[in-house]
Symmetry: C2
Subunit: 210 residues, 2 copies
């Protein structure tokens, strides 16, 4: 049987998660600096000081939001692509999952990381470091799959995997940013066409990519 | 001979320009919402209420900053490329000028428009409209040059100019954003390589592009 302490902790965990889910949505629109314990309390079952107690400082709230956003990103981009074979199929599945993640507005303001990268790119500190680490982690994963595609002969042996990742990411982020700015989601088709060009230039068999 | 009124107006124009030049630099780092008459007065020869008098409202200050930033952008990206022949040479010159404009930090926070596009992409209003118009104007100019390249036979007849612009812009913005986030300007070489790929895929003679 649970003790009163366990129950309190469980309730605290649930509240924390609910507040964080709200925080990452809000930050995707207005950025992490716009977060405040007071504003979050307006839609939470607990008051401002209880929320402050759960997170500590605003910076800790921001760091927790980056961590939670990374979980959501993994769940919507990385996990769905795991059913595809490693290498080129996985690269393609990641691109499809990413465009779907952005188009479906998993985060209300489009990709959470796009917003906070631009917000923190000129600053120093733990939040910027966390944002950079999340971006590096995604790039490393994508680059690993490109390397596997090269090793399997699905892409030309002279392929520079980091260059492919740079070009693919550029196209993904362009669709996200422009669909938001112009309110027009036809840009996702442009990203798909662009990525096909990037892969075709390295000898990929496009007919094999659905 | 200038009348006292003319002299006052001239002084007002000079002050307004100096404040605006300060404002666009600041906004490139922190965004347009972070601008305030008070903060701008700290580095201006006149006080806060004089600055408020020159601009009226904060929104008018933001609109004036977008207009001034567009002038600076034209001066650093469009004007230098005018010495190149229209069509493919001009497209290439624009790409080189853009990467130089971003790398040289003409705006302290990297491309002014990247920062404010992400800042305003989820809002309505006159500032967003001005930012969208500036982006559309740049795209239209670049697309026009791509069309001229197709018409001149420098790019394949089946080329979709809007797709080329989408891909080229994606690569330009990626270098800007990443050089800021990672503090590493080797990404500009990745953009140049990527754009060469985009043009080569449409049959461009890369040897002719310096």
């Amino acid at each position: 049987m649970s003790s009163p302490t366990d129950l309190r902790r469980l309730r605290g965990d649930r509240t924390r998660r609910a507040v964080l889910d709200d925080a990452v949505q809000e930050a995707s629109v207005r950025g992490l600096d716009a977060l405040s314990f007071g504003a979050l309390a307006a839609s939470a079952p607990v008051n401002k000081s209880a929320i402050a107690g759960l997170f500590g400082s605003k910076e800790q709230l921001q760091l927790a939001a980056v961590e939670r956003a990374a979980e959501i990103y993994t769940e919507h981009v990385v996990v769905p692509a795991r059913s595809a074979a490693r290498g080129l199929d996985r690269v393609w599945a990641l691109v499809r999952a990413w465009t779907e993640y952005s188009r479906a507005r998993v985060f209300r303001g489009g990709c959470f990381f796009r917003t906070v990268e631009i917000e923190f790119d000129m600053r120093d500190g733990a939040v910027r470091d966390a944002v950079v680490a999340a971006q590096r982690s995604w790039e490393a994963y994508l680059e690993h799959q490109v390397r596997l595609a090269v090793a399997a002969g699905e892409l030309a042996p002279e392929t520079d995997p980091a260059q492919v990742v740079f070009e693919v990411d550029a196209l993904l982020y362009a669709a996200n940013d422009r669909s938001l700015l112009f309110g027009d989601d036809r840009v996702y088709a442009r990203t798909i066409e662009g990525v096909r060009g990037v892969l075709a230039a390295r000898g990929a068999d496009l007919a094999a990519l659905r």
